[in-house]
């Protein structure tokens, strides 16, 4: 039997199975990634959100923060599940926009006021903090993340065109 015939015989079935295995592993990895996001979100929802709600006591920032975190994780899960496909791009982009939207909206309510309770001489004590500067710092980081997401999209388009 010529060598070329032998190699053809043995190679043919191995190539598709390797691709399938690779794809399967990719799919499993994406599902695991999405599951990890869900687990992290559930933990935050159970332990962090109640703390934020009780600390900020119904202030606009409390709702904004919980909504933003929820939206961030929803897009993260969708992005993980569609990883490697063109669908991933809008989800990743939306995920990068969430912190920017949060920062911009939170800037209007940047003064957090927390009622620390009653004091002895029949009065109340309130703590306030202006997080405006922290929000500006965080906006810079969010913009870096957005720029990276834009490059990711350009890179994806570039690969498809190539």
């Amino acid at each position: 039997m010529p060598t070329s015939e032998l190699s053809t015989r043995f190679r043919r079935p191995t190539v598709p199975s390797a691709i399938n295995r690779k794809n399967l592993w990719k799919a499993v990895k994406n599902i695991l990634k999405a599951a990890a996001y869900i687990v992290i979100f559930l933990l935050i929802n159970s332990f962090v959100f109640p703390q934020i709600s009780s600390f900020l006591k119904g202030q606009p920032l409390s709702t904004l923060l919980t909504d933003s975190v929820t939206a961030f994780f929803v897009f993260s899960v969708l992005s993980a599940l569609t990883s490697g496909t063109i669908l991933q791009l809008p989800f990743s982009f939306a995920r990068a926009l969430v912190p920017i939207a949060f920062t911009v909206l939170a800037y209007e309510n940047r003064v957090l006021t927390v009622n620390l309770g009653e004091i002895a001489s029949s009065g109340s004590i309130t703590f306030s903090i202006d997080i405006g500067t922290l929000l500006i710092f965080s906006l810079l980081l969010d913009l870096v993340l957005l720029a990276r997401e834009i490059l990711q999209i350009l890179s994806f388009i570039n690969k498809r065109v190539a």
């Binding site: 001489s121 004590i125 703590f127 720029a147 490059l151 990711q152 890179s155 570039n158």
Partner: protein, 264 residues
């Protein structure tokens, strides 16, 4: 070779650079937030016992405050503001500013609330006679790490003790002494509920029209939380036509005058 180059992602380096920048920025951001949080926990405020002094016409309430900054950052623009009001109407306010407290240092200062009593009591005469509850809104505001303004506001109530609480005078009693003199007697009583003593004069003056007919003064020295009860007597000539009798209290803190008799 050419094939390999065309497969290379031209965005790989910028993407990696942005990832590194984001990671480094995030680490710095969280380190900053954590160190500010840590510094805030290392701040210690202690408020000493408030004391008052009377300097001339001014009543000064002094609150000694000690700030111990054991954190990593300086404190800037520490402002302590007190506003005292009664029934929603602002009576007086005071602000103390400490420009800077460096880290790992301790500062003690006094927050003074100065009230010019003559001016205050002239504008708010009800406080002379009625005890009251004053609402004090106090605020401590400072800038942490030169970037983050934080504040602590608290409300409390203080009792105001009226210096002439339960002030009462009897009807002016006229009693003839002889053919030329009539003795006019007036009983005066009050409780000094104020935190300061009353030192001054109590004067009763009889007028005939605009002319002063007779006057009598007595020294007033009533300690804080003490009562005063006395009778003041005025010798009037029988020929005099008394149109009104005025009672005047003059102390370091205030002056007050009222007609106790008026002939209609």
């Amino acid at each position: 070779m050419q094939q390999g180059n065309s497969n290379e992602d031209p965005f790989k380096f910028p993407k990696r650079s942005l990832s590194v920048a984001f990671a480094a920025g995030s680490i710095l951001f969280f380190l900053f937030v954590a160190s500010v949080g840590f510094s805030a926990t290392q701040l210690q405020f202690s408020v000493g016992e408030a004391f008052y002094t009377v300097k001339g016409e001014n009543f000064i309430l002094s609150i000694p405050i000690n700030v111990s900054n054991n954190g990593l950052f300086d404190l800037q623009n520490l402002q302590i503001n007190t506003t005292v009001s009664e029934g929603g109407i602002e009576l007086f306010n005071s602000t103390t500013i400490v420009p800077k407290i460096t880290h790992q240092s301790e500062t003690t200062f006094t927050h003074n609330l100065t009230v010019n009593l003559p001016s205050f009591l002239a504008n708010h005469q009800a406080f002379l006679f009625n005890d009251s509850q004053l609402q004090a809104a106090e605020g401590v505001h400072l800038v942490l790490a030169a970037l983050i303004p934080v504040g602590l506001d608290f409300n409390s109530t203080y009792d105001w003790g009226a210096p002439l609480n339960d002030f009462s005078t009897s009807n002016l009693q006229f009693q003839p002494v002889n053919s030329t003199t009539i003795l006019a007697s007036l009983d005066i009583a009050f409780n000094n509920h104020a935190n300061f003593p009353l030192e001054g004069n109590l004067t009763v003056t009889a007028f005939g029209g605009t002319t002063q007919v007779a006057t009598q003064s007595l020294q007033l020295s009533v300690k804080s939380k003490d009562s005063f009860k006395s009778t003041i007597q005025l010798s009037l000539p029988t020929t005099a036509l008394v149109s009104r009798v005025a009672l005047m209290i003059q102390t370091d803190s205030f002056s007050w005058e009222e007609n106790v008799y008026a002939h209609v």
